[in-house]
């Protein structure tokens, strides 16, 4: 391959990655703006906080680190992976918030679920602490990748359980179901991509796939959230296909 072809390929890759990233930033700001303008900040406080955190860490902290230290610096790698861990934990907290909303009419179930979610959270926090503390000199390593994969997978399993629980529930919350679908998309594809990263030998193609899958899933999640917030009913209704006896 001549130099012009290689340069063209690199430019295309850069355009794709940057384009998806800026589209994700724009979508995050758009969904947050819609939430605030339409007065949903109290009702969907968890979603608002998650989006604000995402914009601050992904859009501001990482961008500042690139400007200050450069994209090839060790500081950027550390900031990138640490903020990724924080965002994953925030996503876990948001899934717990969705569980709380799904159990709004069933306090007994929430009392049973709460310790279980707390235990899973403590387990993830302990694993993250030991992995980061023992490997702080080399954050960008297979240990961090393994941790991210496990956390994403734990969140994915919880999201799937939540969705199944909602489908078998006597009440119908269309907005929450769509929000949960968005979270499922955000977790499922990156979990698969990280597993692929571990299975395949290191190559530029796998790295490009992983960095773009994250942004694509983020766009998918934000699109479903925007649809849920703007077009679906916010009220919880009784499910028509559940017998009246089962609803009481």
């Amino acid at each position: 391959m001549d130099r012009r072809t290689i340069a063209g390929g690199l430019m295309l890759e850069r355009l794709l990655t940057d384009g998806l990233q800026y589209a994700a930033y724009f979508s995050e700001a758009l969904v947050l703006g819609v939430l605030l303008v339409r007065g949903h900040r109290k009702r969907l406080a968890g979603v608002c906080l998650f989006l604000i955190l995402f914009l601050l860490l992904d859009g501001v902290a990482r961008f500042y680190t690139i400007l200050r230290y450069g994209i090839q610096s060790r500081d950027y790698y550390n900031v990138y992976w640490l903020t990724d861990v924080v965002l994953t934990v925030a996503a876990f907290a948001l899934v717990c918030g969705f569980f709380r909303r799904a159990c709004a009419g069933n306090e007994k179930m929430w009392h049973n679920l709460r310790p279980l979610l707390g235990f899973v959270f403590l387990l993830l926090a302990a694993i993250s602490y030991f992995m980061i503390a023992s490997k702080f000199h080399d954050l960008y390593s297979e240990f961090i990748t393994q941790f991210q994969q496990n956390t994403y997978f734990a969140c994915l399993v919880l999201t799937t359980l939540l969705y199944i629980m909602m489908q078998s529930s006597a009440v119908r919350d269309e907005e929450l179901a769509m929000l949960v679908c968005g979270m499922g998309i955000l977790f499922a594809a990156p979990a698969a991509a990280l597993a692929l990263f571990k299975l395949c030998p290191q190559s530029d193609y796998v790295n490009i796939l992983i960095s773009n899958v994250d942004q694509l899933c983020m766009l998918g999640m934000l699109s479903t959230w925007l649809y849920a917030i703007t077009k679906l009913p916010h009220e919880v209704t009784a499910r028509a296909d559940v017998p009246v006896v089962a609803r009481t």
Binding site: F153, E174, I185, A188, A191, A195, Y227
Partner: protein, 158 residues
């Protein structure tokens, strides 16, 4: 290694599941009226007949006719979605997601036909998507006044 393979398989399967469920939630939207009937009549769309043929008659599916009819309806409806009573002349995000879903199900329908497996569910799903598109176009057209033109006259003028 085994764990990574399992995560890869489950991750992919669940990703497809959640995308499919999100599309089903969009398709479950209720409209005030059955707008799709007037749109189908005005544009001579065939998906209501395809649906009726598949659901009501137990005869073998005429695959080439159904595939051609659904593809033509899809092209007509996506054109209308973009241009009929749409000031921005752009698809909404949910429409883009459903268009990708339609193409995927159409591809799956081709695979099912090749493998000689039952095709009815995929065909009904495709007609559901087209009906949703027709309902959206009908709702938009009914919300806009075009002077002396009726909704069907306006659609014919496009």
């Amino acid at each position: 290694m085994v764990m990574s393979i399992l995560v890869l398989i489950f991750g992919l399967a669940l990703c497809l599941f959640f995308i499919q469920r999100a599309c089903q939630h969009i398709l479950a939207r209720r409209f005030n009226e059955e707008y799709f009937r007037s749109i189908a009549n005005a544009n001579r769309l065939e998906f209501p007949f395809v649906r009726k043929a598949v659901e009501e008659f137990d005869a073998p599916v005429d695959y080439p006719w159904i595939r051609m009819a659904l593809k033509c309806d899809y092209l007509a409806l996506t054109y209308l979605l973009k241009n009929a009573a749409n000031a921005r002349h752009r698809f909404a995000r949910d429409e883009v997601i459903l268009m990708a879903y339609f193409r995927t199900v159409l591809f799956v329908l081709g695979l099912l036909h090749l493998l000689r497996m039952p095709e009815r569910r995929a065909i009904v799903k495709l007609t559901d998507i087209l009906q949703h598109f027709a309902d959206v176009v009908g709702e938009r057209v009914s919300n806009v006044r075009f002077g002396e033109l009726s909704a069907s006259d306006y659609l014919l003028s496009l």
